[in-house]
Amino acid sequence: MVLRIATAGSVDDGKSTLIGRLLHDTKTVFEDQLSAVEKASTRYGDGSLNLALLTDGLRAEREQGITIDVAYRYFATPKRTFVVADTPGHAQYTRNMVTGASASDVAIVLVDARNGLTEQTRRHLFVASLLGVKLVILAVNKMDLVDFDEATYHRIVAEATAHADALPAPVVLNPLPISALLGDNVVDASTNMPWFKGLPLLDLLETIEVPGDHNVGARLAVQWVIRPYSTEHHDYRGFAGRLTGGSLAIGDLIRVLPGGQQSTVIGIDRGGVPQDTAQPGEAISIQLADDIDIGRGDVLVAAVASESPIVTDRIIADISWMVDKPLETGSRWIIKHQTRTAKAFVSAIELRHDVATATRSPAESLGLNDLGRVHLNVSVPLVIDNYDRHRPGGAAVLIDEATGMTCAALMIRDSE
């Protein structure tokens, strides 16, 4: 199984160095990449091999020694394959962290041992919680700069644990002390910190168990209707989309939402190849026994489901605001939820999440990097799930009609 990892930390916490170290020590770095980094290290640094340059690929990043945008890296060990989203910690930090965390199983939150928990650390833990990333590895980095001091490490872990307990949804903290620069507890156990009995980072990543998704029952948001119009497939209508929530089999009874009609699955194709059943995650197309008017945006749902989605045009959602232009009550946006695109009107801003204290305060508007909760009126009914129960049914984005920019990520909690 692929483990999807998001890394988060403040500027200079050593994220890129850590990822560079993982890539380097797992021998994922190719010779030509390494020689390019060596050349660049001389140009942009003091000449010692700067592993951060492995991931900081854009010219401006190298010149300024910062990470601008989320970068994706791939590496494998004999035990597991990994995808790492390197999410930079400055300017659009929340947007980057939200993007990285949205598709991740595990978050690695870096803390500089000299500084302890910062507001950024608290923010990262909060975002992990809000986005439903249940596993968090708290990597206390730069231990070499605090003389590998055990008491410093334990103080930071205690502080982080206290904060984690106050988060809106529980996260499991896996702390460990490291030095990304020197490699302590990254791939090999540190000889400088014999007092630490836990696994080094890579061993932890190789063995950590990711809790499975809730089975809410099969859901398929229709992306496209396949109609070949050929002699051979004259009456063929395949409703194509990605199955989520639960498995589906030929003979299953489904409901079409928001319409409410029922029918029976008589065919399942995956990549044009017929199969009897389908599992969550598979891109399939299904045929139904009855001739029902179904189009893009409709959702096919198992008629006998352990949890039913809600059909509503009024939603309550946690929101991450990602652009300079503020979100205000009464403003209008485009909402994209599953395969449905509609208009949305902000009827109320319920609150702003104060990430440093994990408390809530009233808000008139939300600005760049703000996290809050909003109420939206949508121009058509959506087929929603609570985000924590079923991510695909609870995730949405807001788009600015004028600029086309993606402005917000929404975690739907309920209907109004």
């Binding site: 010779e31 991931t55 690929g57 890296r73 035990k79 990549g271 086309g404 993606t406």
Partner: protein, 312 residues
Amino acid sequence: MTMIDSGTQATPAEIKQSVAELEDEAITIIREVAAECRNPVLLFSGGKDSAVLLHLAAKAFRPGSLPFPVMHVDTGHNFDEVIVYRDILVEQYGVKLIVASVQESIDSGRAVEETGPRPSRNRLQSVTLLDAIAEHKFDAAFGGGRRDEDKARAKERILSFRDHFGQWEPRAQRPEPWNMLNAKIRPGEHLRAFPLSNWTELDIWRYIGIENVALPSIYFSHRRTVVERNGMLLSVGGPVVLEAGEMPFEEIVRYRTVGDASCTGAVRSMASNVDEVLVEVAAARITERGATRADDNFSDSAMEDRKREGYF
């Protein structure tokens, strides 16, 4: 088939499963872009990534036919085997092929051939590509780009927004939480879509093996007359003209990538089938672009610079 695969200790079943998951993701992206965009096109170079992309696109709409055309940006610096392969494939898949010619861009004065002893047409492709996108009013172009190919590509979104000038602005990319794709554009702007974003070179070869995706013959070992330039083996003939003091020689080689023949190098290899290539790829110590693309070794940010100009 037996999968000899030293990349991981994964079992054949696990490999099949991980590649199937990548396929599901890619097909989902292809369907989404086809549904959201008015007039998409699939860019096809004849290379292995575009072969996989076309294979996936065909599967996404089966038993229906591909709802968009395929476009080859033809540098004129081709390997003959690739053009033969392209035409057979187009026939097999029954797709509509558009050829956008760099030579025509040069002839009409839209593009100027690079001067110097070794002109490559790699950069010029951007001009031809952007002209063709404007001419056919395409609003999205599927490409076979992968994030593991290059450090600039590692930063690129699945849907890459391009302005009126076809430029990529890495600082103003649209976030894609949960891989939700925002295909909204204004007139004159367009999108590049990269369904293979999360694939690695190893994944591509595993998929080719499992799905029996046909490739041009030059991907497998063959005897070829080459000349060594800057540590790269270039095929003699066509755009590659021998310079003073250069000695051509025969070598058993294959190609890891297919591009402009003037700057795409061959690697010494005895790998004559997919299984043997997989062993080679898993053991490779040099990236495919580093090993075979003179243009990307030109500078540290060569790919970023070309992408900013409208490159794939």
